[in-house]
Assembly symmetry: C2
Homo-oligomer: 219 residues x 2
């Protein structure tokens, strides 16, 4: 009982910052996507390739969450996009307070879209609202097609699911139709984008979706 | 401050059950390995292949932790080994209380070694003692060689690190010498076993290590 009560208090504190972020983003009509996946599913590679593909049309800023190191922010900055690194120092997910702080450091006037790359964890980040406008889940082929059934929350709440590393489909027994069906069973409205950030296959459909998102909210 | 205090209370409650498990395992001289990794690194496949390889010499029981489904326990039982499935129903790691309960359901008199397959999460399970005799980390090649630097805790505390899916080394840019060096920087005593549970490469060294573990503790 005690645990439940306190958990709720922490969530309320997080919720206050999340509402503050949500209100800031709404005022600016700024789409902000909270990207969630297991470690190593390819989130940073997807972001660098996405930025390279559409930076002439969509100006992107990135908030990078990692337990330690600024490897990922450095990788993003090679594209020319601004990136703010947050180190959670052991914590398993980003908090809305950390994102609030990072939003103040980004040049919002010069951006059309913000990505938050959460800590690599398919579970905990799904339960913490950062005030983002939508969540994006990444599932990579080597992780296996049973992951939507085993880790349902993120797939049930994501506006888009990227099935990455499809260049490795031939090397394993990932059944992409089964994965799609399991995802749609949890969330029939989600958009599913099979892709390989490495080879570029499938990236254009995802980039079109992002562009439509920024146009819908354009100022 | 409040959060820290309460976090400590939860850890103490967990610690009491962990001590109870540790004492039970010590009385029986039973090695019990808590296997921790990202989702989809191949934990269950490693366990099924390990059981098949050494079941004539080492009798293995498995405690399976998953948020939902009993897919993994079913896979283990196809080998003939007993498996107890725990569903955490959203929680991101197994607790010592859940393991205490599962230990009572396993036929301990007929076992030489217990595996606990934790929930797929490279972060949270590292911080919760289950009373295991040692932790084993699994890192799979498609996750990338930067993971020990980015998620140091599990690599710093594991008695063994399995680098799985080495059959995919040619398909990517995973530098196995860099990964090994980063792991040994965190933990110079750990044993590193590069392997492919799929092709069987490298499995025998790992199986020899397990056999030595059960012989050291043999009754």
């Amino acid at each position: 009982m005690r645990k439940v009560k306190v958990g709720r208090k922490i969530l309320i504190a997080n919720e206050e910052y999340a509402l503050r972020n949500k209100s800031l983003l709404a005022r600016r009509k700024m789409p902000c996507l909270n990207v969630i996946s297991s470690p190593g599913s390819g989130k940073t590679t997807i972001l660098t390739r996405t930025i390279e593909a559409i930076k002439d049309r969509v100006r992107i800023g990135v908030i990078e969450g990692d337990i330690q190191t600024d490897i990922d922010a450095q990788r993003i900055r090679t594209t020319g996009a601004p990136a703010i690194q947050i180190n959670t120092d052991g914590a398993c997910h980003l908090s809305a307070a950390q994102v609030s702080d990072a939003l103040q450091k980004l040049p919002l006037d010069k951006l059309d879209l913000i990505f938050i790359e959460n800590v690599g964890n398919l579970i905990c980040p799904s339960a913490f609202d950062l005030g983002e406008t939508a969540k994006v889940a990444v599932l990579s082929v080597p992780e296996g097609d049973d992951k939507p059934a085993k880790y349902p929350l993120i797939f049930a709440t994501a506006a888009a699911v990227l099935i990455n590393k499809i260049d490795l489909l031939a090397a394993g027994d990932f059944n992409i139709e089964k994965a799609k069906a399991d995802i749609l069973k949890l969330n029939k409205k989600t958009k599913i984008f099979p892709m390989s950030a490495k080879t570029g296959e499938g990236m254009s459909q995802w980039c079109d979706w992002l562009e439509a998102l920024t146009n819908r909210q354009s100022r």
